[in-house]
């Protein structure tokens, strides 16, 4: 089950997605978090944020909308109040950072660089619920390249750019991320969506729009992971409606090296460890010696592919200094 990503070894390919696990304390009440391959924290911003007014969530068919607004305690409280607990968990720690300007992203990356216990940073250039610093950094390649290059210079920590599906060509954004020096990309973040109350003729969410997540977005995420994995050499972390081991395995076969379980944590508190167990059972049943063998194993008829899926080679994953 061990698998390497961006030079970091993970005990298994299953992480939990940013915004769906807070900083671990609440979920530690359900199971030992060392069971997971890794945790991606809720986004940290420079200044603490209170988030959007209620209502912030709404159920949809096969999923939900959220417009939380990046509510978080800010980097200082994160370091003093959340990191000590996160260090005790015995699993890989990826800290997700979100800024409204390039300078904020750079400052966050810089301040987290020498913190003991952090294995990688996930750069959130794709949150749809904040006025600045979200979608405009991930909708087109140039702004993505600019912000990610700046973050690259600010730290030697392994960097993963979290990409938005709210774009015309996500593979182009992924290429920009690769060119900017990212060791990997994670996709997809949520899809922009909305809900309306006909009785009041008002939007349901206080922020008007929100991000759609859950099983409803899995087909979109699968297509995007497949497309991106073919276009870049850096490894991909898949996010989008993963509820069970079968979902996770489908994404790996499409080219993802690691997977993140997100919204499923809200409906079954043990969703993520069940995915870990399910992958392990599958490998045993199929007599597959290493989970790495599944990455990119998708068989597409040659006439449907313009170029074969490029699997990440080990030496290409190491940081170029």
């Amino acid at each position: 089950m061990k698998i390497s990503f961006a030079g970091v070894e993970f005990a298994n390919p299953v992480l939990v997605a940013s915004g769906t696990f807070n900083y671990g304390e609440e979920m530690a009440r359900f199971y030992p978090l060392s069971k997971l391959g890794g945790i991606v924290t809720k986004s940290i911003t420079l200044k603490a944020r209170s988030g959007h007014p209620y209502p912030r969530t709404y159920e949809t068919k096969g999923g939900m909308l959220n417009a939380i607004g990046l509510a978080n305690p800010g980097i200082e409280k994160f370091l003093s109040k959340k990191m000590p607990f996160l260090r005790t968990l015995g699993t890989r720690l990826v800290v997700n950072i979100a800024g409204s300007t390039i300078e904020e992203f750079v400052e966050l990356a810089h301040r987290l660089s020498d913190v003991e216990g952090i294995d990688a940073l996930e750069v959130n250039i794709s949150c749809p619920n904040v006025k600045e610093g979200g979608l405009e950094f991930s909708a087109t390649p140039q702004p993505a390249f600019r912000v990610l290059s700046a973050v690259r210079k600010a730290t030697r920590l392994p960097l993963v750019a979290k990409l938005s599906p709210n774009t015309a060509d996500i593979a182009a954004i992924a290429q920009a991320a690769e060119e900017a020096g990212m060791e990997g990309v994670s996709l997809i973040n949520t899809l922009v969506g909305m809900a309306v109350d006909l009785k009041t003729k008002k939007p349901i969410l206080s922020n008007v729009t929100g991000g759609l997540s859950g099983p409803a977005i899995k087909p979109v995420a699968l297509a995007m992971v497949y497309t991106v994995a073919r276009r870049v050499r850096i490894p991909v972390m898949a996010i989008g409606g993963i509820c069970g081991a079968t979902d996770a395995l489908e994404f790996m076969v499409c080219g993802a090296t690691l997977v993140q379980v997100g919204t499923a944590n809200f409906t079954d508190p043990k969703a993520a460890p069940k995915v870990v167990d399910g992958i392990e059972s599958y490998l045993k049943e199929q007599k597959i010696s290493s989970v790495q063998n599944l990455v990119g194993a998708l068989r597409v008829p040659p006439e449907k592919e313009s170029s074969p899926i490029k699997l990440p080679k080990l030496d290409e994953l190491r940081v170029q200094t």
């Binding site: 096969g62 809200f266 508190p269």
Partner: protein, 282 residues
């Protein structure tokens, strides 16, 4: 440790006013629950409805392994729950949230309930030793005689119960908060009093106003839309005045309030700090 328990419906009752009562066999969970806490109920296995539904615990019988909830059909998920039958299996995560505080010695507790908001307040009363229940009063407001009597029937051992109906067809004709005010005005023995309340937001806002007027402590059990119910989605935001003694997870808003999570910091909150909107909602 928290768990996801498979519970079996032992009794299911459809009540007037789209209300419903469910009794579950859930021996491990029943022993762990206290008044004020809630459970996240998975309505159907699978994705429709996608999210669970939150219910305050009504009362438990730990020795018999039973726990109960009281609900009202508002939408898709609750409509399905109202159709459940004995023998149906449902998953419950709990116990979640915080409990009502304990009364001080010689303090009288007034319980002000609106409709299915009765649930956690009756649990509070039942969880007390029998000799302490006489120091509590339960005021219950319902829309009509049919609803009032249906709820009363579910509480054979309610202590000091007074009923109010909106349409005057049973008990006091008018608001349940009138019953509270009347009691407070008559409170001649001058014992210290505190209030616990649960029901529609407007009712709780009015109760908090009365508590403020009489200078009394008040706890309210709030309901919000919830995605997870266990602290990780940060959706169940409740706006309240900051408590300078406690460190808040999130910073103050521009107008000096804080947002707390109903599933972690609540659902029981200090009713005098909750930011009630002008229309009485939270």
């Amino acid at each position: 440790m928290l768990n996801d328990y498979e519970a079996v419906v032992a009794q299911a009752k459809q009540l007037p006013g789209r209300m419903f009562f469910l009794e579950f066999d859930a021996p491990e969970l029943a022993k762990k629950c206290g008044p004020g806490e809630f459970v996240m109920v998975q309505v159907e296995p699978g994705t429709d409805p996608f999210l669970r539904r939150a219910f305050s615990l009504f009362y438990t019988e730990p020795k018999k392994g039973k726990l109960t909830i009281l609900g009202k059909s508002y939408g898709f998920g609750t409509a399905l729950l109202r159709e459940k039958k004995a023998g149906d299996r449902l998953k419950l995560v709990g116990p979640l949230g915080n409990r009502f505080g304990r009364a001080k010695k010689k303090e009288t507790t007034l319980l002000v309930a609106g409709g299915v908001g009765l649930a956690p307040l009756y649990f509070y009363q039942q969880a007390l030793a029998k000799n302490l229940r006489k120091d509590t009063h339960l005021f219950l407001g319902a829309r009509s005689k049919a609803e009032a009597l249906a709820l009363k029937k579910l509480m054979p051992s309610a202590a000091n119960l007074q009923l109010a109906t909106d349409d005057g067809s049973y008990g006091y004709a008018g608001r349940v908060t009138d019953l509270l005010e009347t009691w407070l005005e008559k409170n001649e023995n001058g014992r210290p009093v505190r209030i616990l309340s649960c029901g529609p937001d407007g009712m709780m806002a009015k109760t908090a106003e009365i508590a403020e007027k009489f200078g009394l402590p008040i706890e309210v059990s709030l309901e919000t839309a919830m995605a997870c119910g266990w602290g990780i989605c940060i959706g169940c935001a409740v706006k309240s005045l900051p408590d300078e003694k406690m460190e808040s997870e999130f910073p103050k808003t521009s107008d000096g309030y804080i947002y707390q999570r109903a599933c972690i910091d609540g659902p029981v909150f200090n009713g005098r700090q909750v930011a009630w909107e002008a229309d009485g909602s939270t």
